[in-house]
């Protein structure tokens, strides 16, 4: 039985790898063909002196690209990333960062819907009750997340209430040592959410771990009628996950932790089993995005399973092409599992967080 299951797993992994290679060929063809590609990448290919369409035939060939420099997303006008095939269609501009200076900008049309539809399908009808209304408490503004959560609520038959939090201001307050103002701002945000929960029927919640804690210090989420929480944003150690599940969610509200950002979309965490000991593992929405855990000293190489390394993200959609971006995060490389036939990233935390202070804020 066991060897049969192992063989089955092996063939699923092989199948996923083949689908990824095929997807890589299609996306490279799309982004580097004048009829479909965007000015930025077409210009890049001209100056690089090689044609990715010829050289990149599988995901392993992606190493021919240098690590993507995200400064490009601050420097270049977003219009330079409009694929020829999308010319004339207005686009969404999504931002990340921006506490000081220019934020990074990514444009998009349908990607966020695709990502969140897939997320929705991964969870059954009961997890986030179909037809239930949502509350999003977290960064809205120029972020993809705001539209994505509303789409998620809508495709599951519900509507979504929003409470905004401006993480740029929070980071600034922390840097200025204004702890008191940080607390007042957090109270202001959580108070608004409490008011909505008291007066409206809401079953599903999206928020960040710290705001979730703060909310549950004011009201019982169970008594407020919350059935499931979708959470993402900051580091969640196993102890923190245990605390959230056992105490904040009172051992009964369902919990869907995710890892994601504007450049990737969102990586879903596999179901926790007792053997996981509350250690989370996230899986990228492959083949549209690929996460690798690489050796920080030689980012061409992946680290061994079970070891920490730097997270590398490659995004491959028709709307956005971003090869081998080194994230400001590190994680443990974890193998494929029943739910996902490709590698995952475990216990994500800020890159080199053991050796330097990191501002993560209240969000």
């Amino acid at each position: 039985m066991e060897s049969g299951a192992a063989m089955n797993m092996e063939s699923r992994i092989e199948g996923a790898r083949a689908r990824l290679d095929e997807h890589v060929r299609a996306m490279v063809e799309w982004h580097f063909s004048p009829g479909t590609g965007c000015p930025y990448w077409l210009d890049w290919a001209r100056s690089a002196g090689w044609d990715p369409r010829e050289k990149v035939r599988a995901f392993a060939d992606m190493r021919r690209f240098d690590h993507f420099d995200d400064e490009v997303l601050r420097r270049e006008d977003p219009a330079r990333f409009v694929p020829a095939a999308y010319r004339g269609r207005p686009y969404n501009i999504f931002e990340t960062g921006g506490t000081t200076g220019m934020p990074k900008q990514r444009i998009g049309w349908e990607d966020f819907r695709t990502d969140y539809t897939e997320f929705s399908e991964h969870y059954g009808d009961d997890f986030f009750p179909k037809g239930g209304h949502w509350l999003m408490m977290g960064p809205t503004g120029p972020r993809r997340l705001r539209l994505a959560i509303e789409h998620l609520a809508n495709i599951r038959g519900g509507s979504c209430y929003f409470i905004d939090l401006d993480p740029r201001w929070v980071k600034k307050l922390i840097t200025m040592g204004e702890l008191k103002m940080v607390r007042l701002y957090q109270d202001h945000v959580v108070e608004q959410a409490t008011t909505i929960l008291r007066h409206r029927e809401i079953q599903c919640l999206f928020t960040t771990p710290k705001l979730l804690e703060a909310l549950a210090e004011r009201i019982s989420l169970v008594q407020a009628g919350i059935r499931a929480v979708f959470c993402g944003g900051t580091t969640m150690t196993p102890q923190y996950v245990r605390f959230l599940i056992e105490e904040v969610l009172e051992g009964s509200v369902r919990f869907a932790p995710t890892y994601g950002n504007t450049l990737m979309g969102l990586a879903i965490s596999r179901r926790l089993t007792p053997e996981d000991n509350f250690s989370l593992t996230y899986y990228a929405p492959q083949p549209r995005a690929v996460l690798r855990v690489v050796d920080p000293k030689d980012p061409d190489d992946e680290v061994a399973y079970g070891e920490y390394g730097r997270v590398e993200l490659t995004t491959l959609t028709r709307e956005f092409f971003m090869p081998r971006f080194l994230e400001r995060d590190e994680a443990i490389r974890r193998p494929a599992c029943d739910e996902f036939a490709w590698d995952g990233v475990g216990d994500v935390r800020p890159f080199q967080s053991g050796s330097r202070p990191v501002v993560e804020g209240v969000y």
């Binding site: 702890l179 008191k180 210090e217 102890q239 923190y240 605390f243 904040v248 509350f278």
Partner: protein
């Protein structure tokens, strides 16, 4: 293979094993300390009402009695050590604490006795803080004084204390809160989780309700959570710590002490008789306390006094931690010792300062000995009180010595935790007792580390935790309620 002992978080009476742990080498034993995530502390505070209710079931007099019984247990008893059923005797505690902090056994014992004395003298300590109010004030909130009702009420539901690791004796500061019926949540210093844990175990063994005591080893962020959520908080630390919390009126910070010895013109001729007071002020407890003198002001004979004092200080040599005469503490983090030494050397390059101890000591200030890194005692003579080495303090026996007329001493003080003024000059003493820069004042030949239980020290905990309210009208029912 040393034994591993696990110190759990004590969640107001409930031991909790965290998945985040700090591993420490405590000599014969290895310690694993459970670390609390910040939210866990705030969550426990949601149930603080039951902690207060548990305290209300005891009279303040009974709680003071528990403290006195705990004194004997703390100094001489075997108490639970971690959650594995091990027992910790006083010498186990001394050896482990010494291994963790670098404090020699002598000082570990002295600090243990100091904390034990604070417990044993609890009624006197509290009388000093409340100016003699009867303990019943903590049962009823009201007492009569000269026919007038006096009502005090707690300003907060709990007290959070972020403890340092440099001197276990500071634990004596929070102890009175237990009799005030204010639940206490402690964040131990990184290198000394043992002292607060042992104290809590002694109090519980003596009859104190465990629901009213919290032990939360945690991160800096957890320390913020504890201090901010408790209603009242006490933190220890540097000037940076003071700046961090000064925006919160509910948090009292014990920063650098900058304690000083001032020599009056009337005692100048007798300075040689009091060298011992100067040496003790600078070097007691390994120079680690904020009540150690870090500056001396003298009205004359600077070079003679400096040379004689430097000779005495330079004679204090690093010894093994278990040596019966050891006084200097090794640095738990050798990098810290190296950084301090480099800073002193850099400032000595500026004109107007001389390390007088360098003439007398048997080697450099920074020394590796007995398997530890030490800084030898250092006395620096400064021409001007504005020199960077003149009004600073370090975590080893260090002091500056500046000559100035008596009339310039008080204007030059700056915020000072303890002043020992060696003088009998009535006029100057009047100025001293009215000086707003001094927290604690010793008049006469007393070292800065002198403790008198009846006097409040390092901030009055009672005044910090309680507020007085005007109370008038028909108060007869109050007496019946108390009965």
């Amino acid at each position: 293979m040393p034994e591993t002992i696990h110190l759990p978080i004590l969640r107001l009476g409930r031991p909790y094993r965290s998945m985040d742990r700090l591993k420490l080498d405590a000599g014969a034993v290895r310690l694993e300390v459970s670390l609390a995530n910040p939210g866990l502390i705030r969550r426990d505070l949601m149930g603080i009402a039951s902690a207060r209710a548990a305290l209300r079931r005891h009279s303040a007099g009974a709680l003071a009695g528990h403290c006195q019984r705990a004194a004997g247990l703390e100094v001489g008893g075997a108490l639970p050590w971690g959650d594995g059923g091990d027992q910790q005797g006083p010498e186990d505690y001394v050896r482990a604490l010494s291994a963790l902090t670098g404090l020699p056994h002598t000082l570990c014992r002295a600090n243990m006795r100091k904390v034990g004395d604070a417990l044993a003298n609890m009624p006197a300590v509290i009388a000093g803080l409340t100016r003699g109010l009867p303990l019943e004030i903590f049962d009823t909130g009201v007492t009569m004084r000269d026919g007038l009702a006096v009502n005090y009420y707690p300003a907060a539901e709990s007290l959070g204390v972020a403890l340092p690791s440099n001197s276990p004796g500071v634990n004596s500061l929070w102890l009175p809160a237990t009799v005030f019926k204010v639940p206490v949540l402690l964040k131990p210093g990184r290198e000394d989780p043992l002292t607060p844990y042992r104290l809590i175990q002694a109090l519980i063994a003596a009859g104190f309700p465990g629901e009213a005591l919290g032990f939360y080893p945690t991160t800096h962020e957890g320390g913020d959570a504890l201090l901010l959520a408790c209603g009242r908080g006490i933190a220890f630390g540097s000037d940076a710590t003071v700046r961090r919390y000064e925006q919160f009126e509910g948090i009292q910070v014990h920063g650098t002490g900058r304690s000083k010895v001032l020599l009056g013109a009337d005692w100048l001729d007798r300075w040689a008789d009091h060298l011992g007071v100067l040496v003790e002020s600078i070097s007691a407890n390994g120079g680690r306390s904020c009540i150690n003198a870090s500056a001396l002001f003298v009205p004359g004979q600077r070079d003679e006094i400096a040379d004689a004092l430097a000779r005495r200080l330079a004679a204090i040599e690093p010894m093994a931690r278990d040596h019966p005469e050891a006084l200097l503490c090794g640095f738990a983090n050798p990098e810290q010792a190296r950084a301090i030494d480099a800073r002193i050397e850099a400032h000595l390059q500026e004109p107007g300062a001389e390390d007088v101890t360098a003439r007398h000591r048997k080697g450099p200030r920074l020394v590796e000995a007995h398997g530890q890194t030490f800084l030898r005692p250092t006395l620096v003579v400064c021409d001007d009180p504005g020199h960077p080495l003149a009004n600073t303090e370090f975590m080893f026996p260090y002091a500056s010595l500046v000559e100035m007329p008596v009339g310039r001493m008080l204007p030059s003080l700056g915020p000072t935790l303890v002043v020992s003024a060696l003088t009998g000059d009535a006029e100057w003493i009047r100025d001293l007792v009215n000086c707003p820069s001094i927290d604690r004042l010793n008049i006469g030949a007393y070292p800065t580390n002198r403790v008198q239980w009846e006097q409040p020290h390092e901030g009055n905990l009672f005044e910090f935790l309680f507020q007085r309210r005007a109370l008038q009208g028909d108060l007869g029912a109050l007496g019946r309620a108390a009965a």
